[in-house]
């Protein structure tokens, strides 16, 4: 009898444990996008190389340089030259790029850590900021992918720092953007590299008809920034500047949020204002707004845990106090999910996006050992954390095909072949960049398309034509998704162009835009699976179609 009771008790415990496991493990039932690596076939052979100064960086920029609206590329080369590529992909077909000779001198293209596109002079040709080890280079874009150096004409002092990050925003009333440049270690300071972080640089335009940044500021302290992002964290309509910093080199530093006020020097938010000290090996910032409440969440990549920060409602909306929801959302991504290396991961670029068009927000993180740090995983595959309907993330990098043994750095999440499914470029250290084409979901007969989508391009008019700082609100049924048009964040990588939104099974969507000056548009009614152009002041949205092939 005692034996029987023991058996029953054991059985009950076993069943309870089984039940617990079952309930803890939720099944991911949405589509897993198959990301097919085809960089070589697509004509992209570019590695990010170099010594210690290039352990960080390794970015890319995606933007249209020839007016066909297909995203073209520039990829940093570190000690090698940065390379430009013109997109020649067929709609929905294999990715194809052609190297572009810009005519720039090799010395201008070497030492590049990252790149961000930005139409500084509002001429509708995307300009480019190349972040370099040494003098940053500003390239003024022209028609047909022509570039000319514009540091002098824009009065931008490229400096001599080791620049690693950038963000830009049009401050209210300004004709030209404010540009923040993140700098890393001051290599010339005594005691370098530890405790010798270079101040960052803030470039505000002077009044006038042409860009003039001849009065730069150097907000201090700098804590070895690796990613910067102008962000309207409290939906005040006034973006502040968030900076993630590398604790490896700073002393007494922390993550930073700079309060931006018109015409005044930025001021750091302090503990008395609710800012809580956080010290991480900050590598990249990504912003999303899971519940479209106007209060964004942020992913901060680091060594070990990725942070996922949400404004703490208990602290009050106007106080920048954040709590970490990475664990509860399954987004810590602290160890490799494949390859068997049990050591902590090293995260770099991060980006929120909807890779499978199911309306749930996904998170991509580029991963890779700094170089050969023995305490961190050497085989450290990039993460594809797909958002599930259970409101948690599910790691599907292996199934998607991105679990490569490369040291990822910067990246661009972009629909390179204009089929509505997001593709992916990852810049790798000492290894050719990876270019993944999203084929859709695997079936036993091939690949099927994912959910519906819409891509949106804004036209804000003569000033800030690409509408940097705008908020796009996309409503389908009871669900609202938002996207903020930003230049900045990630790891040394930026993009501009159509903004992608997954629509799941929705056949149509209603779009409203909050323009950079805060004015809300009327609703635009659009159908799914369209490239949509919204031109400020026009009653109806326009559609755009790639050239027939």
């Amino acid at each position: 009898m005692t034996t029987l009771r023991s058996l029953l008790a054991f059985g009950a415990v076993w069943l309870a444990a089984l039940g617990h496991c079952a309930s803890a493990q939720t099944v991911f039932s949405a589509d897993i996008p198959i990301l097919h690596e085809e960089a070589a076939a697509a004509g992209i052979d570019q590695s990010y190389t170099g010594g210690w100064e290039f352990f960080v960086g390794g970015g890319a920029a995606s933007f249209d340089c020839n007016g066909d609206r297909l995203p073209d590329l520039v990829i940093a080369g570190g000690a090698g030259q940065a390379a430009f590529f013109v997109n020649e992909s067929q709609t929905g077909g294999a990715l194809a790029f052609k190297p572009l000779d810009t005519g720039l001198k090799p010395e201008d293209l070497t030492g590049v850590l990252g790149a961000y596109p930005l139409d500084i002079d509002n001429d509708r040709h995307m300009d480019l900021v190349l972040l370099r080890l040494g003098r940053n280079l500003v390239l003024k874009g022209g028609p047909d992918c022509q570039f000319e150096k514009a540091n002098r004409s824009f009065s931008i002092d490229g400096g001599r720092a080791w620049s690693t990050g950038m963000s830009a925003i049009w401050e209210k009333g300004n004709r030209f953007p404010t540009i923040a440049i993140g700098n890393y270690v001051d290599r010339s300071a005594p005691g370098t590299p530890f405790g010798t972080c270079e101040p960052n640089q803030l470039l505000r335009p002077r009044a006038g008809d042409a860009p003039d940044y001849s009065d730069p500021m150097a907000p201090e302290p700098g804590y070895c920034a690796l990613s910067l992002l102008f962000t309207d964290w409290n939906r005040a309509g006034q973006p502040d500047l968030r900076i993630t910093n590398d604790r490896q080199y700073y002393r007494g530093g922390e993550e930073q949020l700079w309060q931006m006020s018109q015409g005044r020097a930025p001021r750091l938010y302090t503990a008395s204002q609710g800012w809580q000290r956080l010290s991480v090996w900050g590598m990249g910032i990504a912003e999303t707004d899971f519940d479209a409440d106007g209060l964004p969440e942020y992913a901060l990549t680091s060594m070990g845990d990725t942070k996922l920060q949400k404004l703490d409602e208990e602290a009050g909306e106007d106080r920048p106090t954040y709590r970490d929801i990475a664990f509860e959302k399954g987004a810590t991504a602290h160890r490799p999910y494949a390859g068997g290396d049990p050591k902590p991961s090293t995260g770099w670029h991060s980006a929120f996006a909807d890779f499978n068009n199911d309306t749930m927000t996904d998170l991509f993180i580029a991963k890779g050992n700094v170089q050969a740090m023995p305490d961190f995983a050497s085989y450290d595959p990039d993460n594809l954390l797909l958002g599930g309907f259970d409101d948690t993330f599910h790691e599907k990098g292996a199934e998607a095909g991105i679990a490569l043994n490369t040291r990822g750095r910067g990246a661009v999440v972009e629909d390179f072949n204009m089929d509505g499914m997001l593709d992916l470029l990852v810049v790798n250290r000492e290894h050719p960049a990876s270019l993944f084409r999203n084929l859709g979901a695997a079936t036993d007969w091939g690949h099927r398309p994912l959910g519906n989508w819409v891509k949106i391009e804004l036209d804000n008019g003569k000033i800030n034509p690409a509408a940097v700082g705008s908020l796009i609100s996309v409503r389908t049924g009871t669900r609202t998704q938002t996207r903020r048009i930003q230049i900045g964040g990630g790891h040394a990588s930026g993009r501009t162009g159509f903004v992608h939104v997954g629509l799941g099974v929705s056949e149509r969507a209603t779009i409203r835009v909050q323009w950079p000056d805060g004015e809300w548009s009327h609703p635009y009614r659009v159908f799914a699976n369209q490239h949509v152009r919204i031109i400020r002041g026009e009653a109806n949205a326009r559609y755009w179609y790639p050239a027939a092939q």
Binding site: V27, S29, A30, D31, G67, D68, R69, N357, D358, G388, F389, D390, T443, D444, W445, G446, R448, P449, L450, G451, N452, T476, G477, T478, R479, G504, V505, S506, E507, R508, R525, V526, F527, A528, N529, Q530, R533, A539, N540, A541, R542, Y543, W544, Y545, P546, A547, A548
Partner: protein
């Protein structure tokens, strides 16, 4: 058989039934779960088609498939099938209810019918519905709990018939292709010339406004008329906002019965196999939907039958002439030409959430030409079938400042303003009274006189005609009937 042997046999039956009931209880199921018995309260036709059909179906295969489709269309779905949606709304996009509902059926927000045929039954299964079978169109997002007939919450609509629906969808597909090819041509020319190009949008002779293309690949959609901005003709529903029989079937099964199709409400798109929370997972498979589509797509087309009554033939002839002379045919086109009778399912224009031809390994083809009734369809000199639908598959404004009876709704639907409706196809109108989108016009005379907006000119011509000429027109319209 003696009484005692009958009793013994009855006891044996009871005994085996009790045994099955006992087994069912042991397995945690309710007694009626003995699903395969002929008297089961479960719909036997559900799941009868194991796999979606593919390739071109033979006449016999098509017959078998449509038989299942008809069984599903006429089935009274039950709790054992998954009827009801306690945790989901009627919305086309899967939407959770804010609060679970106690009742399975609910007249306004639905589910409001046990079967498709409960409404589509006039003059036969697949037909239209009387006023009592009106439904309530609502997006189902914001007012999921509405319990009022107040039109601020929903738009009351009559039930359309489905006869000839396969031909209607085929026409719409060909017209969509035609319109989209105009768009492509405009874009190519604009890109080639570096100048804006404005082209008339026309499909099967029906004018849909203009499209303007810019050299940069943009198209300006300001001058579209009666068609959605993606240039897809959506030929179903009073508004013309549903793309295909497949989409309409998936929508209606959820709205009217709470039977949720896997291809939209399944785990792929919602994370749950039981999104409506009624304890039944995977209620309607893609193959079930295919069977229902096949049956609807192959329903016979309405025809013209002149009753044997003194003077009707002559009156109808005169009425047909009047129909053209009054200008009715501007919208109620007597026939539209159709190139092909091959009905592909899933079709080309549905988007994710309704299966389309990119989402499956192989689509199935139902050759309508195999059906007896199809041989009677008229053809033009080019061999094209002339589909006698008396419609144009275009949306029109139906009200103006004086005549506004058809503008009685308060809600737009799927981007279409409240006074805009697709031209009602008049084939079968003689079998489907009452009339109008709300089914509240008891005579043809009343509904004709209710035409405002784009129909005003023809309406005025009718109104100005003599009683005899009006009567002739009615005589003609009453010859357009459904003969199942």
């Amino acid at each position: 058989m003696t009484n005692s042997s009958r009793r013994a046999r009855w006891r044996r039956r009871l005994g085996s039934g009790a045994l099955l009931l006992g087994q069912a209880l042991v397995w945690g199921m309710a007694a009626p779960a003995v699903a395969d018995e002929p008297w089961s309260e479960r719909t036997q036709a559900l799941g009868q088609i194991a796999d979606m059909p593919s390739g071109t179906l033979s006449q016999d295969d098509l017959k078998r498939l449509t038989a299942t489709g008809e069984a599903l269309f006429s089935a009274h779905f039950t709790a054992l099938d998954g009827v009801g949606r306690p945790q989901a709304t009627q919305a086309i996009d899967p939407t959770r209810r804010k609060h679970p509902r106690e009742q399975v059926f609910f007249r306004t927000a639905g589910p409001d019918a046990g079967s498709c045929a409960a409404c589509h039954n006039q003059p036969a299964i697949g037909g239209a519905g009387d006023f009592v079978a009106n439904v309530f169109a609502s997006e189902g997002f914001e007012s999921a709990d509405f319990d009022s007939l107040d039109p601020q919450f929903s738009s009351e609509r009559g039930t359309n018939h489905l006869f000839g629906a396969g031909l209607v969808e085929l026409l719409a597909r060909e017209m969509s292709l035609e319109l989209q090819s105009v768009r492509s041509r405009a874009l190519s020319e604009a890109r080639a010339t570096g100048s804006a190009v404005r082209l008339p949008l026309e499909a099967k002779g029906v004018d849909f406004g203009f499209i303007s293309a810019e050299p940069d690949g943009s198209v300006n959609l300001d001058e579209l008329d009666g068609v959605d901005t993606d240039l897809v003709i959506r030929p179903f529903s009073q508004k013309g906002v549903m793309t295909s029989l497949r989409q309409f079937t998936v929508n209606a099964l959820n709205q009217h019965h709470g039977m949720q199709a896997d291809e939209r409400f399944g785990a792929r798109w919602t994370g749950s196999d039981d999104f409506d929370g009624d304890g039944k997972s995977r209620e309607i498979s893609a193959a079930d939907i295919s069977a229902m589509v096949a049956w609807q797509a192959t329903l016979t087309a309405p025809v013209q039958v002149i009753p044997v009554a003194n003077g009707w033939s002559e009156a109808a002839d005169r009425g047909e002439t009047n129909f053209a002379d009054f200008g009715c045919t501007v919208c109620h086109r007597p026939a539209l030409p159709l190139e092909s009778l091959s009905f592909a399912d899933p079709g080309p224009f549905d988007l994710a959430g309704t299966l389309n031809d990119r989402q499956v390994a192989s689509k199935s083809i139902y050759d309508i030409a195999l059906l007896d009734w199809a041989s009677n369809l008229p053809r033009d000199e080019e061999g094209r079938v002339l589909v006698p639908l008396y419609g144009d598959l275009k949306r029109h404004a139906m009200t103006d400042n004086q005549i506004d009876a058809l503008g009685n709704e308060l809600l737009s639907q799927r981007f279409v303003d409240r006074n805009i409706f697709q031209t009602a196809e008049l084939w079968g109108v003689g079998s489907t009274q009452p009339y109008g989108h709300r089914n509240d016009f008891s005579t043809l005379d009343e509904i004709i006189l209710a035409h405002g907006g784009n129909g005003r000119k023809a309406r005025d011509a009718y109104a100005a005609a003599s009683d005899a000429e009006k009567s002739a027109l009615i005589a003609f319209l009453k010859t357009l009937v459904i003969v199942p």
